[in-house]
Every structure is written in structure tokens, then in C-alpha cells.
């Protein structure tokens, strides 16, 4: 590939601008990571800085001393994410499979039923009243799993399209001539052949569950059921919440020693870490899903 001078200049220019943009995307993260390692007094005196005078592990030590609150919140988040994603993937793909079978009598009816949910919604009030008055999910783990996140039309149609376009009907027919039941065909042939789309949709669902805090905002008032996001939210408005859970804390404990700002930032770091951890592995599937979804939902 021979480049003219103008082209080379443009390539260099794009690289520079891209680096700047990426730095711009990353800087705020860096700021809070550094802030979480900064001594509280320095934060109050000099504000946040990329080059703090005094570093300290105080915030993390503090978190360790109230470890069980954080471990519990992480536990709730992980449990909800894993349960929600597993159940969600199962019912999403089980629904997408009949929809993808053009020889199935009701495949278009099903598609319409799912599709219509993307166009019109009854709104939050009827939904809230239904979940609280009729299903009584307030302050249960189900409140974090069931409302809105378990399956959505977009994901079902994404999986349906994959089934339809990537697994020829002939394979299905051959299996059934050999005497495989629909269930067996689905679990033994369709699913194994569709791992990429499962990974994509699983990623979407997992992120949605991990980052969700709105269900808890509506349906949960017990701190024991807070996941990491809602614990963070609680701490933003009320950093003393940590003290209340400390073993051997006395009423009116010395609040000055509480590195509240640094602790908040340390919490945010803890909230991002799992996402950072998974991102490199899943980036391929994520981008693929975005492209497929956007071009033909």
C-alpha cells in the first residue's frame, strides 16, 4: 500500500485525534482511581488532582473494615446478574426458536406479539401497581430480576434472525427425520450452532443486570437486598451508612476520620472493575451485536 504524502499526513492526523479522544474517554476514570488513593485531607484542601500530594490506602482500608457490606452487595449483584442472564437467555432462545421456523404455523403471530412490545408500553404506573399489588415482589430478590430485564423484544428478534439466517432448515429436518424431538433439536442442534449470538445477547443482558439500579429504586427498600449500584447510590447520599454497619461502632463515632470522598471514589472503582475485566473478552461479540441490531432490528 503506497501512500502519498497527503495521505500519510491524514493517517497521522487521525491517529493523533483518536489518541486524544481515547484519552478524553479515559481521563475521568483515571481521576477517580487516583482520587480513591488520595488522602482525604489532601482531597479537601486541594481538590481532586491527577497528581496528588499524599497518596493513601485509607479508603480501601476503610472498605475492608466494613467488608461484609460490600461483599454482600457484590454477592447480590453477581447472583442477580447470573440468575437473570441464565433464565433470560433460556426463555429468549426458546421463544426465538419457534419464531425462526418458517414451517411453524404461528411463527408470524409470535413475531408480532414480541415486536409489538417494542412499539407500545403501558407505562410505569400500571406496571408498578401490578408488580407490587398483585405479584407482591417488593423487597424480594425477584424484584431485581423480573421487571423489564428478563427478556426484551430486541434480543428475541436478534436471536431469531440468527437462527433463521445461520442454521439451514435442512439440518433441522434431517434431525427430525432421524427421530429427534423438537426439544432435542433445539438443545442439541440449534443452541450449539448459535453460540456467537448467545454470547452477544448474554453480554447485553449481563451488562443490563450488572448496571441496573432502577428496579431496586422502585421495589427495594431493604439495604440487605442492595446490589453494588444501589449501595453506591446509598453511599452518595449518606456516607454514614457505612458506619452503621461497622462492628463495634459507637453512636456518634468519630465521623471526621471517615474518608468519605475517597471512599465514594473507591466504591466507584469497585463498581467498574468487573466490567473492565469482562470487556476485552466480550468486545468482539458486543460490537457484532450492535451492528446486527442496528442494521436490521
Amino acid at each position: 500500500m503506497i501512500q502519498t504524502r497527503g495521505e500519510r499526513a491524514f493517517t497521522v492526523f487521525s491517529a493523533v485525534v483518536m489518541i486524544l479522544l481515547t484519552v478524553f474517554a479515559f481521563l475521568p476514570f483515571l481521576l477517580i482511581v487516583i482520587a480513591s488513593f488520595t488522602e482525604e485531607t489532601a482531597l479537601i484542601r486541594n481538590g481532586y488532582s491527577f497528581f496528588p500530594e499524599h497518596t493513601s490506602l485509607e479508603a480501601y482500608r476503610y472498605i475492608k473494615s466494613s467488608a461484609y457490606i460490600f461483599i454482600r452487595a457484590y454477592g447480590v449483584s453477581f447472583l442477580v446478574t447470573i440468575l437473570g442472564t441464565a433464565i433470560g437467555l433460556l426463555i429468549t432462545s426458546m421463544l426465538a426458536y419457534p419464531m425462526s421456523r418458517s414451517d411453524f404455523k404461528y411463527h408470524n403471530t409470535l413475531a408480532f406479539v414480541v415486536f409489538f412490545t417494542m412499539l407500545f408500553s403501558g407505562g410505569i404506573v400500571p406496571s408498578y401497581i401490578m408488580w407490587t399489588q398483585y405479584f407482591h415482589i417488593k423487597n424480594t430478590l425477584w424484584a431485581l430480576i423480573l421487571p423489564n430485564l428478563l427478556a426484551n423484544g430486541f434480543n428475541v428478534l436478534l436471536v431469531r434472525n440468527y437462527f433463521k439466517n445461520n442454521v439451514p432448515l435442512e439440518i433441522i429436518e434431517a434431525a427430525q427425520i432421524d427421530g429427534a424431538s423438537e426439544l432435542r433439536t433445539f438443545f442439541r442442534i440449534m443452541l450449539p450452532l448459535s453460540m456467537p449470538v448467545m454470547a452477544t445477547v448474554g453480554m447485553f443482558m449481563g451488562l443490563a443486570y450488572w448496571n441496573d439500579w432502577i428496579n431496586a429504586l422502585y421495589f427495594v427498600s431493604k439495604p440487605q437486598l442492595y446490589g453494588i449500584q444501589n449501595l453506591l447510590m446509598q453511599l452518595m447520599s449518606n456516607i454514614q451508612f457505612l458506619n452503621s454497619g461497622q462492628a463495634g461502632s459507637v453512636l456518634g463515632a468519630d465521623t471526621v476520620s471517615l474518608p468519605s470522598t475517597a471512599v465514594r471514589m473507591a466504591m466507584a472503582v469497585l463498581g467498574i472493575v468487573p466490567v473492565l475485566f469482562v470487556l476485552p473478552f466480550m468486545q468482539k461479540y458486543l460490537t457484532r451485536g450492535v451492528v446486527i441490531g442496528a442494521v436490521k432490528g
Binding site: S14, P147, V291
Partner: protein, 309 residues
């Protein structure tokens, strides 16, 4: 791609297993989406839990007349529309710029690295984002006041009580969060453009900028139009977290941060005004529905391939 066949009528023995497979998912959609749809009548009732939802008194359009007599209705509608227009216009431009620059990088590894960095902001929760913003804006130790305004000798600003700054802040925050993610689609479209077109343009002596103007942008046009229209269909919806959590639910900022979604939440959960909340929610749903239908009709005219239905 298998050719579509007419569905031959199959005996029940054939269809039942498939219906059973679809069952759990269907049940979920029925409960989560369709039951609340039938519940829209709540907006026409004076809800009283003691009498039950079905036993509460019908009050016709009273909730709506109340709602639209308040200035809230106008403010939240205006904010929702204007913010969305700003997000669509700026977001699209920034995303396209990122995609074009990214496609210039010849090294695959680099573009992967940049992509990862640029989509990260979109993968964090609104709670974490609000903390990031708090780190920049809080009055006591925020980065902007402390490390930018003070050294420059400018007066410090109380960000969380000054409504006038938030339109700019929220647009900036939203673009920071979503532009990288939004560029993925455009990047994929550019990657799909036949390289020989560029080669022949080069032979004709077209420089890089001219190639972008004459080849890349025109070929992106269908994608751009469809995506912009799609977002137009969602112009009545807003990201609740961005307008509620990022401004820290600060009452002083409502005039520029209240959207329909935040109003519905506050009316229901904080003011316990079920009627107002239900009315605002139904207003949002109906207008949203009309918008999606309109937009789809337009997309059908422009590019039938991409129409939703």
C-alpha cells in the same frame, strides 16, 4: 438463508412442542408488557388502594386536564424534546467523525484498542457516571472548581444549584458516554465499502478529504438517515438515570433537568400522586407510539429495506 415456504398446515402433534418451547417467554411478555398495557385505564381513575384498582372511581380526563394546567407538563416536554434533538444532532456528527478517523488507522490492533477505550463509557452504570460527574463538579473538592477555575482566577461555580449550566453539561456528558458506542455501526458500514472505489478516486487525483466528501459520506447516507429516523421515533423517551441521578436529584435544577421520565418517577414515588404519574406516562406512551409509526412510514419511503414493519 433458506427460501421462505408457505406454512403447510401441520397436525397439533407437530405444533405443540414448539408452542411449549415458546411458552415461558410468551408468558413473560404477557405479564411484563401486555398486562400493563391493559392497565392504561388507571390514568382515567382516581386511584385509591383501599377500594382497589378496579374499584376506584372513574374521573374521565381530569388527571390530564390537571397535568396540562401545570407548568411541569410544558417544561418536561420541552426538555425531553430539546435534549433529544441535541443528542441526535451532535451524537451523530461526533460518531461519524470517530468512525471515519478510526477507519483510517491501518493497524487492526490499534483500532481494536481505541474501540475498547471508546465504548467503555457506555458500559458503566448511571450511578458510576454520576460519581464521575460529581468528582468533576462538586463544590468542595471538585476538579473543575479546584483545579481549573481557581488557578485561572475565575469565580467558582455551585454546579448543583445553577440550572443554566446543565443543558450544556448534560449534552456533553451524554456525548462522552455514547459517541464511541454509536460509532460502531458507522465504522462497520465504512469497513464494508469497496476499497477499489477509493483506489480509482486516488488515480483521478482525489485527496483524502475529497474522498471522504465524495465517497464515504454519500455511501454512509442511507445508514445515517435510517439511524437518525430511528432515534426520532424515541424522541419522547429519555434516559431516566441521566436526568435523575447525574444531577443528583437536585430540586434547584428541575427547570433544565426534568424530563417526562423523571416526572413520572417523582410523581409516583416521591409525591405519591398516582393520577398525575399515570397521565404523564400514558401521554408519553401514546405520543411515542405515534412517533414510531410515523417514522416507520417515512423509513419505508426512503429505504424499504430498513423499515421495521
Amino acid at each position: 438463508m433458506t427460501a421462505r415456504r408457505k406454512s403447510p398446515s401441520k397436525p397439533l402433534k407437530k405444533t405443540l412442542p414448539l408452542l411449549i418451547l415458546a411458552g415461558p417467554g410468551l408468558l413473560y411478555f404477557l405479564i411484563n408488557s401486555y398486562f400493563p398495557m391493559f392497565g392504561v385505564f388507571i390514568a382515567f381513575k382516581d386511584v385509591n388502594y383501599a377500594k382497589g384498582i378496579f374499584g376506584s372511581d372513574w374521573i374521565g380526563f381530569k388527571n390530564f386536564t390537571f397535568l396540562f394546567q401545570t407548568s411541569d407538563a410544558w417544561i418536561m416536554t420541552r426538555n425531553t424534546l430539546l435534549y433529544n434533538l441535541a443528542f441526535i444532532a451532535l451524537g451523530t456528527v461526533v460518531s461519524i467523525i470517530i468512525a471515519i478517523l478510526m477507519s483510517e488507522l491501518l493497524n487492526k490492533l490499534y483500532s481494536k484498542l481505541f474501540m475498547t477505550g471508546l465504548i467503555l463509557p457506555n458500559l458503566i452504570s448511571m450511578i458510576v457516571l454520576s460519581l464521575l460527574v460529581f468528582a468533576f463538579l462538586n463544590a468542595d473538592s471538585g476538579f473543575v472548581n479546584h483545579s481549573i477555575l481557581r488557578p485561572l482566577g475565575l469565580p467558582e461555580i455551585n454546579w448543583y444549584s445553577e440550572a443554566k449550566y446543565w443543558p450544556y453539561l448534560l449534552v456533553l456528558i451524554q456525548i462522552w458516554k455514547t459517541a464511541g458506542y454509536g460509532s460502531i455501526v458507522y465504522f462497520a458500514s465504512i469497513a464494508g465499502i469497496d476499497k477499489s472505489i477509493y483506489e480509482s478516486a486516488k488515480i483521478d487525483g482525489a485527496g483524502k478529504l475529497k474522498q471522504i466528501r465524495m465517497i464515504t459520506l454519500p455511501l454512509l447516507k442511507p445508514t445515517i438517515i435510517v439511524l437518525v429516523l430511528m432515534s426520532m421515533g424515541r424522541i419522547f423517551n429519555s434516559d431516566f438515570g441521566l436526568f435523575y441521578q447525574v444531577p443528583m436529584n437536585s430540586g434547584a435544577l428541575y427547570s433544565t433537568t426534568q424530563t417526562i421520565d423523571t416526572y413520572v418517577y417523582r410523581a409516583l414515588m416521591q409525591l405519591n400522586d398516582i393520577g398525575m404519574s399515570a397521565a404523564a406516562g400514558l401521554y408519553q406512551s401514546l405520543v411515542g407510539f405515534a412517533l414510531v409509526l410515523t417514522v416507520n412510514a417515512i423509513v419505508k419511503k426512503v429505504n424499504p429495506e430498513n423499515a421495521l414493519f
